[in-house]
Symmetry: C2
Subunit: 351 residues, 2 copies
């Protein structure tokens, strides 16, 4: 049976992805040289589609790395001599902070709470970068973009880096306030894992700390539609194709549908006897990764849905048995979400 994956990533493939993989095989995409014109065209197509999808202005450049953890590392490496500042809203933003510490930086963080607003935030002097995770895959918090912009308006000289790993392509980003953004293809693009997209203000792309993935080398190559290493060519090809498909569907439609599907799910869980959204404050609830408190029933719920061919995520880390996580990406149709809710209703009767 073909399952439907509502897991937060890797997740369901975008419906056209298997066709593009078959086309790639037919057209020898996995054998072409990463220094060939054919590859450069694929790279350009991928870059152009991502640029169009997120309305990325010409002030910002795009490169591809192997994972979002790598992006977090390269961002700290290239932009921070001593101090980064982190808004920690869950396990992944915490990991970014810890990575800075492991890299020998004197970094600091605040713990973000949904009730808290950023207008009173004080950032330490000599901070070289502000790191924020837009959507915490671990607990289902999404920080409204306006609040993130407010920080940048107050601290306009400090580069602001946005982890949008699991929110892409939902948020409309105003790149006047965002210097760095990145996401992974196995989430909102519905692709096989193994690639991350990095967007950087070209004021920062000349930093050359480290080796083959120093910003300078990475972006010099990217400008000529190349990578320093032999990259995951298949993933770059698939990104070009699937981002193109999403563009055809219309990013505005995708965003509206994302909200509609999120509302269906939250409405259900807000009125559910055996579960409730982990984030009470609706303003801060993720639209792309819903985290639901379920007492100690996560395993039972996941297994029951699995029997119906629907795979959901378990809670992250300490919440493994008390949370379930449901992704709401462009590849998840309204029909799939409705089918999931029908089956969730049946669980209610069992418990």
């Amino acid at each position: 049976m073909k399952n439907i994956y509502f897991t937060p990533g890797p997740s369901q493939l975008y419906p056209t992805a298997p066709k593009h993989i078959r086309d790639a095989l037919k057209n020898n995409i996995c054998s072409i040289s990463h220094r060939s014109d054919a590859f450069k065209e694929i790279f350009k197509e991928a870059k152009d589609s991502i640029r169009q999808l997120l309305s990325i202005p010409s002030t910002h450049e795009i490169a591809f790395l192997s994972s979002s953890l790598e992006v977090m590392e390269r961002t700290i490496q290239n932009l921070v001599k001593k101090k980064s500042f982190h808004v920690v809203d869950g396990a992944f933003s915490k990991k970014w902070y810890e990575m800075a510490i492991n890299l020998g930086k004197q970094s600091s963080y605040i713990t973000f709470k949904p009730s808290q607003l950023f207008n009173q935030l004080i950032i330490p002097k000599h901070t070289e970068i502000i790191c924020i995770t837009h959507n915490e895959t671990s607990i289902g918090i999404m920080i409204p973009m306006e609040e993130i912009y407010r920080i940048k308006k107050k601290y306009s000289s400090i580069p602001l880096a946005l982890d949008m790993v699991s929110s892409f392509p939902y948020p409309e980003i105003n790149f006047n306030y965002i210097d760095i953004a990145f996401f992974s293809v196995q989430k909102g693009l519905g692709l096989p894992a193994g690639l991350s997209v990095l967007i950087v203000n070209n004021k920062l792309t000349d930093r050359s700390v480290g080796s083959y993935h120093s910003f300078k080398e990475l972006f010099a190559k990217a400008e000529s539609n190349q990578t320093p290493e032999t990259p995951n060519i298949l993933a770059i090809y698939l990104m070009a194709k699937v981002a193109g498909d999403i563009l055809k569907r219309g990013i505005i439609n995708i965003r509206k549908e994302t909200e509609k599907k999120a509302k269906l799910l939250y409405d259900y869980f807000d009125n559910c006897s055996w579960a409730k959204p982990f984030i009470a404050n609706k303003k801060y609830r993720s639209r792309t990764v819903m985290v639901i408190e379920v007492k100690n029933d996560a395993e039972h719920i996941a297994n029951t849905l699995k029997e119906k061919g629907m795979i959901i995520g378990r809670g992250y880390g300490e919440y493994k048995n008390t949370h379930i996580r449901i992704a709401n990406f462009p590849q998840h149709s309204i029909g799939m979400i409705k089918k999931l809710i029908i089956n969730l209703r049946k669980i209610k009767l069992q418990s």
Copy 2:
């Protein structure tokens, strides 16, 4: 038309790779969680097959990174405080040295010449690692393993790292003399690019310099069949399957066939009026990436073969127009090599 790729990597896919890709789609491999038992089994299968293929003893551990350039970087990062020493036999070994310099090390190198033997080699005091590229993809030199072991025998306390990126799985390695080895899947495994395999003596796997790919974190995860990041799951799956297929064919057979095919090609070029192997000394000629001097005809030769559906590599860097490069990996059958020679003979008539 389906081309045959004799390019040094990315190259021809292993004949069973497309079937395994289709199976992966059928079995939802691209959607499963990298923390699931299903993934752990795939990871273990990949590790076990590689271990069996290269007869890797239990003294050495295996992990997967995103590219061989990344492996070069992590090796320097984790094992070198000040000094690495490099045997430079071409552009890729030079890149490894330059990477060490970019990482702020006081590294040194010697330029290897095919006539030169290692028994008089003097390595600087306080060298922390010796880096050798077994097979130089750029110019087609292959250093005999016995000569490499000789260095380790003389400097037994210094870790020896072997780049076997484009020679795997041809050399039989005695891991008593090799502390670190690595290769990329897009060459001798005939897989889509985007993964590198790192083998490290477990005396060295506790180093924890850097962040998410510090040896300590990488190998702690690898031990439990995991990766720190969301990895290229599809590539790990394909590696498990194709390495298994190669095992069934028999590694001894593969090695014999590699030599037979190399001999066919070198015999042809040694007696060719318009071309000759770039490395004159037969002992040092690569068996897996043949580099052939062709005056200024590289473009013409490559284009002529392309019309027949055969794609060969052009010269590397400064040799772009004066060399051609022909890969001889397990996915290149004797029939393919013979077909290539038949078409090469026709070129002879044209020139």
